[in-house]
Symmetry: C2
Subunit: 363 residues, 2 copies
């Protein structure tokens, strides 16, 4: 059986380097899996939504190994120390040793929890990511961040732990709801905004193919997103500076998500509206031209993403932005654009530009 | 106030290098603490036994910072994910940010749990160790191992995370029970056996000063132990090979501890009897002379340590040794001595030597 066409991005991190493989039907490809998953004992962790769709296919392609499975409930509300503990219990119950590997089959929640469990089981075993959402394929695949939420803060507990390999099976995106798929596209176009105007142009020219989830368009979008994120993270693995540009739209978006109650706005939707706000503020500061701002708004609209946040009130918006982890010394650090393809992290912006932006959108 | 005399060992790990300071009354020394603990917000974690003895002194010496405290129950049975979770809850409740540090005031259990919580809170904050047992001062201070137990295995969950600094206040050893103090000496003399015959000679010449807990003797013993462990760990940080020699006596000792029910034999006591067994087996293999074996037994006896394990039976002993994590491919790897000061990790020893040793001690 010949391997289906796929693309590959190599994440260069010395000893911890790993490949991201991108293409259709990868998780059914026994020979590809045989090459990239070398552990003889595996625990596949997935959730109740994903299991009926893909678990049997993946197990089938992994025949010949010792494969145990754990199915967790679906949803961000289950991204807890308790679920993490269940993964560890399963690893212990299956007597997995240090040569075993964990496999995360699902979206970002599963990936983050399994990564953290793998980071801490016997002080670190291998894990493989099989992300099944667009957001997870373009965001969680790169960066090594793993963890769970605390009742009083998202991602408060975790570790940096790199996967051995990421299998981004683009066929799994076909089963996403249109809304969830579009929310993933917000993160894709973000990479264009912050770092690559050529990629932004490509997205503008391929909106239809992306919305239709055509293999070639999706593969290119995932590949280029991973490359850009890898470039940024490679220069700042432990998040001391540059890496913050990946949060374009996230501080405004965090206020939107929190004010609306988590789940009412999808993360990508809030980020889209947040990016529209960041672009407008950049324009008010004279860093972005009107035509550039219009392009931001236009491409977000064409991708079916919201550009106007709910009117949560200026004061409430400020407060919720201030609760963000990105606050340093009381002042809100923001990611803004100095031209399309050039994001920057600033805390010495002119306050009236922020005030006017909050008035226009939250007021 | 002039700083009291103290000794210093520098653990060289690149960016993660840190000092171990060793001497009397260090935890009361505000100027020393000011130099080595730079975080402005601290969470001190300790236990119910240690808190009444040293917590106020340490807090007093840290005046001028924001200091929160958490007091956990004492004992290995509390080295759990639940206690770990309580430390994380305290960090969140006190709104500690990434610049805060955790301080572990106590023995190895507190140090391991606080280290793991620090490793995972916001994916890693600083922590400082203030070990108050001899075992923790000579063992947990070096190596970066942190973690908690799982109901089905010790230290199954954790991380490698180096402290910012270790303050080994030798005055705290005065409040240890004689039995617990002597159990710590087992790990001290172990460093002589595995790596440094000159240190072994020094111990033989200073047994009285050590048993009397004289400052100068204790400081030298702690310093030299940390130096030797640092040398071994520095060559094998992630425990791929050499580091296993630190487990001299531990595989036999593990069987003794388990068969007796944890707590009936202290870890150091079981290691002492285990080292006597390892020495005898080394002699049976022709790797250690009779006179060398006699020195091992003699110094352990003089330190008030047991050299004869309980008669747990050969078969049961074998089984319990086989449950140890050090098993590779079914064969029990053992740390043995090729002369005093030269430990080696082997799995190709002659079986009759093991059998005879088990018969002589467990049979």
């Amino acid at each position: 059986m010949s391997a289906p066409l796929h693309q590959r991005v190599d994440i260069a991190l010395g000893e911890r380097s790993y490949p991201i493989l991108i293409g259709p039907r990868l998780l059914e490809d026994a020979s590809l899996l045989g090459t990239h998953i070398t552990a003889r004992s595996l625990l596949i962790v997935t959730n109740e939504t994903i299991a009926p769709l893909y678990l049997a296919k993946l197990q089938n392609a992994l025949q010949g190994r010792r494969v145990a499975t754990l199915i967790l409930p679906d949803g961000e509300q289950h991204k807890t120390l308790e679920s993490y503990s269940r993964i560890l219990d399963a690893l212990v119950a299956e007597r997995m040793n240090r040569d075993a590997a964990a496999v995360a089959l699902g979206g970002g929640v599963i990936g983050d929890m399994v990564g953290f469990a793998a980071a801490s089981y016997q002080r670190g075993i291998d894990y493989v990511q099989v992300p099944t959402t667009l957001l997870a394929q373009v965001d969680s695949s790169v960066g090594g961040k793993t963890g769970v939420n605390h009742p009083r803060g998202k991602n408060m507990i975790g570790a940096f732990h790199q996967p051995r390999c990421v299998l981004a099976d683009t066929s799994t995106l076909q089963t996403l709801s249109p809304r969830e798929y579009r929310a993933g596209l917000a993160e894709v176009v973000k990479y264009g905004f912050i770092r690559d105007s050529a990629f932004l142009k490509w997205i503008e020219a391929n909106v239809d193919g992306l919305l239709a989830r055509e293999d070639s368009a999706v593969m290119h979008a995932v590949r280029r997103s991973c490359e850009i994120k890898a470039d940024v993270v490679g220069q700042d693995e432990r998040e001391h500076g540059l890496r913050a540009i990946l949060n374009l739209g996230h501080t405004f978006g965090h206020a939107i998500e929190t004010a609306s109650g988590y789940g009412n706005w999808l993360h990508g939707e809030a980020v889209a509206a947040g990016m529209a706000m960041a672009a407008e503020m950049s324009m008010r500061l004279g860093w972005l031209q009107q035509a550039e701002n219009d392009r931001v708004v236009h491409v977000l609209k064409r991708l079916g993403l919201p550009i106007a946040p709910p009117r949560i009130g200026v004061q409430r918006g400020r407060e919720l932005m201030g609760m963000d982890k990105k606050v340093l010394g009381g002042r809100i650090r923001l990611v803004l654009l100095k031209g399309l393809g050039h994001a920057t992290v600033v805390d010495d912006y002119a306050d009236p530009a922020l005030e006017a932006t909050l008035q226009a959108h939250f007021g």
